[in-house]
Symmetry: C2
Subunit: 87 residues, 2 copies
């Protein structure tokens, strides 16, 4: 039961980034998305991934690997679509 | 060492939302921030909080309690500043 709750929670916080990726891709605008947020977040997710690998925790590795890819895509979009200096 | 890595990772993925809150507050614009992302994310964080409470994990409770507040603030700003139908 608890395990299922953890998997659902992890799926939600991971998959949440998909609509953000799709929205930026569709609108070609990432002005309101904070660069600082995604830099900090991506660094944190990369650390979680390392933590998951070192503790041999498959759910932590899987969730953070997917989130890392999605947050890199958002950073790339942010770089690509925004010229103004939002921090 | 591993424990410190987990704390740093958790701090980064939690504190990351502060610059996003500040940016929306400053610009009064959340158009590019995906509503679907923050609805899914907030639901996931709420579940993580419940998971942390049920497993008596203080770091999970602390990180997710703070993230929950920040993501609620972002949802409130999104509702307040956006009338257009971004999903």
């Amino acid at each position: 039961m608890l395990e299922i709750m953890g998997y659902v929670a992890g799926s939600l916080t991971t998959l949440a980034f998909i609509p953000q990726v799709l929205q930026i891709y569709r609108t070609k605008s990432a002005k309101d998305v904070s660069l600082a947020m995604f830099l900090l977040f991506t660094a944190g997710v990369a650390l979680w991934l390392g933590y998951g690998i070192m503790t041999h925790s498959f759910p932590v590795v899987a969730a953070n690997a997917i989130t890392l890819v999605l947050s890199f895509v958002i950073l790339y979009f942010k770089w690509k679509y925004t010229r103004s200096s939002n921090i």
